[in-house]
Amino acid sequence: MPGVKSLEDLQDLRDETLKKRELVEQSAEIEITVGIGTPGIAVGARETMKAILQFIEREQISGVTVRQTGNIGMDSWEPIMKIRVRDFPVVTYGKITADLVEPLLRSHLLKNKPLSEFVIDA
């Protein structure tokens, strides 16, 4: 276990982690983030997350990282998911229940066309 005993230790740990992250990010073309906070869960964010993982596995898409984060802050638009494809800006989608995951990812990831009617921030 790394025991941090000085500011230098902290700096080293941070640099090391950053380097590791960069490597992961380079290999991942697509990053999907789902807001898993209490309001999200209350309107089905966990089911959304499950549907995303299933879709990726079924379609055998490689280079995708799926992450969770806390409450994003726009509760009435939950479940919220963010997609970043390569260097394009992050697109935030709102009210993405599990049944919407497939059409959305099919359009955004496979055809490279974000579904504008669900975009809440870009």
Binding site: T38, P39, I41, A42, V43, D75, S76, E78
Partner: protein
């Protein structure tokens, strides 16, 4: 939350493991009671006595704590507990209509259990998920943006689940 297996051994075992997890000091009383409540569904009198014995605290004091907090209950409840938030934010966001719908669907007033023992309906203060109000909590799961139309299918998921 099955109440039929409340044998003396079961109660003793539950209290013992809760005390092992949270300690035997007086300050452990709330965590211990919370865990026992979660495992048994409520706090039967023998459990209170048992907690008092382990923590070397008079039963009267155990009871006074158990009866103070909303998450602790000394009365048995139905198989499923539906809690509805009755605070102002949920109220103005459609809680009024939802409240009537729950009463009509279950046929019971708040604080009561259905005759078949399947549901207990209680009103609760804010659950802190007001952004997606009105909110209900069924057992441990929260449901937001609930409308009277979505209520019936939701309840059916619990009663038809074969649990």
């Amino acid at each position: 939350m099955d109440t039929k297996e409340l044998s003396v051994e079961n109660i003793q075992k539950t209290v013992r493991s809760a005390c092992e997890a949270h300690g035997y000091e007086r300050e452990a009383i709330i965590p211990v009671l919370l865990e026992v409540n979660r495992t048994l569904g409520y706090l039967p009198t023998p459990a209170l006595v048992e907690v008092g014995r382990h923590l070397r605290t008079p039963v009267s004091q155990v009871f006074s704590v158990a009866s103070f907090y909303y998450l602790l209950t000394v009365e048995p409840r139905g198989k499923h507990v539906i809690q509805m938030c009755e605070s102002a934010p949920c109220h103005v966001m459609g809680g009024r209509q939802l409240y009537r719908a729950i009463i009509d669907t279950l046929g019971i007033e708040p604080g009561r259990t259905t005759p078949d023992g399947k549901w207990t309906f209680i009103l609760t203060s804010c659950l802190g998920t007001c952004g997606v109000g009105p909110v209900v909590q069924i057992d441990d799961d929260l449901y937001g943006n609930l409308t009277p139309a979505k209520l019936k299918p939701l309840l059916a998921r619990y009663t038809n689940g074969g649990e």
